[in-house]
């Protein structure tokens, strides 16, 4: 009966006014990182999720730091982030549960094609040391996102102050797409996830300069707030589990593997579970 109502309401919405209020019963709030949206991946996956489950997803697109905070505070039903240390810390603290890695790609250092600092093919940490030494423009997200946290870890590795960086660092406080645009306009270097970069590379005049190495691995996980910390109806646990199961399902994993292959022949994200096998 409830499902019938849900279907009827959805059908009315689709047939009638189009962009109206979603019915509260069939919508979950998902905090996710800018890279999953800016790369276009969620545009691809979410309609399939809605089709399979009838659940609407309200995306809150923020940096991983903010997404983790929203999850820890129970402001959203599910989160998709790429900041493994921060995720595990909150899982250990009992604030988040059910962490499931489901895909990965890598970060890449990008910059102007003529590469004024000469970092092409250097390992990431050595490249950062040289950027600082030459004091060249570098566009930093500076937003406590997963990408920003990785940048800080790489700076720490070569003995640089992760907060201060060097004088020519531009701090956008913004998402990956906008930061890449700033880097393109200012002929600056930037650290980006490869997914967002592939999506933007035709629009910004930047090239991938660093080879993928282990220090640039980028792991995406789905997590949810610990339901024991909230009153029974505070979180949509059912919807959260449905999304996690969906992301790890063979069909979605295959979809992730196929996503974005056209521009370069390389996929933007690699699923962690080979399509066809049960995760």
């Amino acid at each position: 009966m409830r499902d019938a109502t849900r279907v009827a309401v959805l059908a009315l919405l689709v047939a009638g006014c189009g962009a109206g209020e979603e019915p509260a019963a069939a919508a979950i709030d998902v905090a996710t990182t800018t890279s999953t949206r800016d790369s276009g991946l969620f545009d691809e996956l979410l309609p399939a999720f809605r089709g399979a489950t009838g659940i609407e997803v309200r995306l809150v697109v923020v940096g991983s730091g903010a997404a983790l905070r929203m999850g820890a505070d129970g402001d959203v039903d599910v989160l998709v982030t790429h900041a493994p240390e921060g995720e595990l810390e909150l899982v250990r603290a009992g604030k988040l549960v059910d962490r499931r890695p489901f895909m990965e790609n890598h970060f890449v250092l990008v910059g102007p094609g003529d590469d004024p600092a000469g970092i092409r093919d250097l390992p990431a940490s050595a490249a950062f040391a040289r950027l600082a030494e030459r004091n060249v423009h570098y566009a930093s997200r500076a937003d406590d996102s997963g990408t920003h946290r990785r940048e800080q870890a790489l700076l720490r590795e070569v003995g640089l102050d992760p907060e201060a960086g060097w004088p020519a660092v531009l701090r956008t406080g913004a998402g990956m797409g906008q930061t890449l645009q700033v880097a393109g306009e200012r002929r600056a270097y930037a650290l980006t996830d490869i997914g967002t970069f592939e999506r933007f590379r035709t629009r910004v005049d930047l090239e991938a300069l660093s080879p993928p190495d282990a220090s640039l691995r980028n792991l995406y996980s789905v997590l949810r707030p610990n339901p024991d910390r909230y009153p029974p109806d505070h979180l949509d646990v059912e919807g959260a589990l449905a999304l996690a199961d969906f992301l790890l399902s063979p069909a979605t994993q295959a979809r992730i593997a196929a996503f974005g292959k056209n521009p370069s022949g390389r996929p933007l994200f690699a699923p962690l579970f080979a399509p066809g096998s049960e995760p």
């Binding site: 940096g63 903010a66 500076a142 531009l170 406080g173 700033v182 306009e185 200012r186």
Partner: protein, 218 residues
């Protein structure tokens, strides 16, 4: 909050003041004469210009931001000026937002005068700049309303300065874009600090202008 944080807030507040004041002065310098002209004189195309000014009062700032962004970006028509992601670029966007407000309200204020006002002025022996000065005093309520509305439009604006300025720390971060950013990052204390400064600034400026506007009115 630590003193260091307040230094950062002050830096952002001063930039906001400087950029907004520059934009306001430019918008007034261009908009007041244009408003007078449209309100006082009849010439071909006047109706169209007045309609454009009035329509422009509802111009969405994000649209202004988008257009200015596309014009100023590297490879855009004015890309060689390298004004994108700089304070002067933000001033350009804010002037475009404020200009229709100044022109439209000035136009309305001038239009509210009796149609034979200039005959009366002439009868009183007022000519040229003196006549204009008396006219301005006569309609100062409306003119100051134009200033207040333009200031409000500029200082509270977030979309266009975000797009054109890029919210770069130490370079183009404004109070509004900072509030937006800190809220998205979940740093609500910092967002509130900037919001408090913005509210205080707006209130003091609007209050001062109101005092001028209402001075010596019985």
């Amino acid at each position: 909050m630590s003193p260091l944080v307040w230094v950062g807030v002050a830096e952002v507040a001063l930039r906001t003041l400087a950029v907004s004041a520059s934009a306001l002065l430019l918008a007034l310098a261009l908009g007041l004469p244009l408003g007078f002209l449209l309100g006082r004189h009849r010439f071909p195309g006047r109706g169209l210009l007045a309609a454009v000014a009035n329509a422009g009062m509802g111009l969405p700032p994000v649209v202004v931001g988008l257009v200015v962004y596309l014009v100023l970006r590297r490879g855009g028509p004015l890309g060689s000026l390298e004004l994108l992601l700089t304070p002067p670029g933000m001033v350009i966007a804010q002037v475009l937002i404020a200009l229709p407000l100044v022109v439209g309200i000035t136009l309305a204020a001038v239009g509210a005068l009796p149609p034979d006002w200039h005959l009366q002025a002439r009868a009183l022996g007022l000519r040229g700049p003196r006549a204009l000065w008396v006219l301005a005093r006569e309609i100062r309520l409306g003119l100051l309303a134009a200033v207040i509305v333009a200031l409000g439009g500029i200082i509270s604006e977030v979309g266009a300065v975000q797009m054109v300025g890029g919210n770069l720390e130490g370079q183009t971060r404004m109070l509004t874009t900072g509030i937006l950013m800190y809220t998205q990052m979940g740093r609500f204390e910092d967002a509130l600090a900037l919001a408090a400064v913005l509210m205080g600034m707006t209130f003091v400026l609007a209050g001062t202008l109101t005092a001028i506007q209402q001075a010596r009115r019985a």
